[in-house]
Amino acid sequence: MTALNIIVCIKPVPDPQHWTKITLDPVTKTLRRESIPSVINPLDKHALEEALRIKEKHSGYVTVVSMAPPTVIDNLREAIALGVDEAILLSDRSFAGADTLATSYVLAAGIKKLGKFDLVLCGNQSLDGSTGQVGPEVAEFLGVPHVTNVRKIDFIDRGLIRVESAIEHGHILMKVQTPVVLTVVREINTPRHISLIRISEAMRKEIKIWTMKDLDVDRDMVGLSGSPTQVADIFMPEMKRRGEILDGEPEIVVKLLVEKLRQLGVM
């Protein structure tokens, strides 16, 4: 098989270890998330790992594409340090405020600009938004088929892939023609760590930044103006729990607990 062209879409997300620091401004109804470092969305790391494995097995060229503000460029450097060949950041003020449809539109435009591809890999969903919508929507904009919940990928030949997709209580085995978009789940692999050997090279590599004028996109379809959905309200859910601490010797305390649970009808 000649070298495969693989594209991986990654999303920098706020580091979950710092999520307790996210606060809600009650006046503007916006989330305050400054100074929270960003990490590559964990499921996207599995997508990156799979791309690298395919490249090692069959020979290929892996390009990472991300739509994000320039502040997260270090996350793309991490992808290069892991071993991808190229990283492209799609960044423009007018891309901001995008919902999944507007995001997918821009990502697809970036991918189209790269030329012919065999496979696009994404994580099944992101840690923060968890919609799982971008993969299928990008596939629609690219006019190629897609499969989600992918646990196993085997190239039969350049034009055909054997795919295993997880479903409730089982899985589906399929044969899919390329080019195709596959979104992967955690079970597919264990992502590698960055090797110190690659760090210098990764820091020196140029990361291309494509703005609005570099892409063939319609102003009305990007960012806030291209987003059919809008957030009307944001609120912190209230944790209204009784918070009753039961005191005493184990035998007594459990008797008390069981009685209370029985009364509430949960036992």
Binding site: D74, R77, A81, A202
Partner: protein
Amino acid sequence: MDFGFTPEQEMLRKTVREFAEKEIAPKIDWMDETGEVPMDIIEKMAKLGFMGVLVPKEYGGLGMGHIERMILLEEIGRVSPAMANTVQVHHLGTAPIVVFGTEEQKKKWLPPLAKGEKIATFAVTEPTGGSDVLGMQTTAKLEGNNYIINGRKCFITNTHIASVIGIAAKTGEGPKGLSAFIIESDTPGFKPGRKENKFGLRGCNTGELIFKNCKVSKENIIGKEGDGLKVALVSISNVGRPGITAGALGIVRACLEEAVKYSKQRVLYGKPISDLQAIQWHLADIYMDYEISKLLMYRAAWLRDKGERCDAENAMAKFWATEAAVRCAQKTITVFGAYGCMKELVPQRLLRDAWLFISGAGTSEIMRIIMARQALKMA
């Protein structure tokens, strides 16, 4: 004066931190309980290049500097001081070959050491003493094309996992009476002796090396006869000592994080104890010790990277960081109250680990002697 790290150094730190948290952290309890070295972790670190930071690229290493090495060891030490010490002693064992080795010796030993395929150590201390280097009794007698080595080294790290062992031994009398040798572990006449059962830094292998008529080719001498003291002191001062400093700094960092986290959670008198001035002063002291140790350590590394002589700075950083590690671990236990004494929680282990660093690579007393030499030149 730029006190910042480069983006490359920041990525190095992030990478090692993630590795330590994901791969090393789950092994800590096992290491503390059994006292054994998790060789699967050593293998993983080796594949990612951790073992060859100071080895030049042409021999398969990363060709990085001392600042990068300090970042690597500080981040490992923050999670496991025992693992940091294992790695740093491997670097120490590699150093004499890098600095003083012949081209043949470098070509022979550096590639497997850089890749972590072989583990190294360097041994000076004997039952006769560590500080009293010239009092050592291990001898190396030249007979034809070989040296016959007899003696015993103790309190050495990596004794049972190293296959490339550097030692200093007596080939004569006085300061020019020591020579440095590399012995491979499968050499007849060599065997590792007892494994020590330490109260801290468990999971790092400490033990004895026994040489009984061990025949070693004269090609294995590092430098010339009589260079032993220089080889030992330079390697220990520039690589061994800073390695311990970095592990100790990791402990101080861990103390700071544990103490702050706990004090914010622990509620007494209706509010978190982090609101109490007494606790805040403890936290301030730990923070101050962290910053001081950090600055001394990285400045000494910066001098080494510039190629400048920095024995006093290395000693000062080691003294401060290791003493601070013990001090801050004690303070952390204090902040935790009775919980600080419970084996399930981290602070008691930090104290047990910290104490081992005081005597490694030169005691605090020896560090003062080295600093005094420099101080005497100051006026």
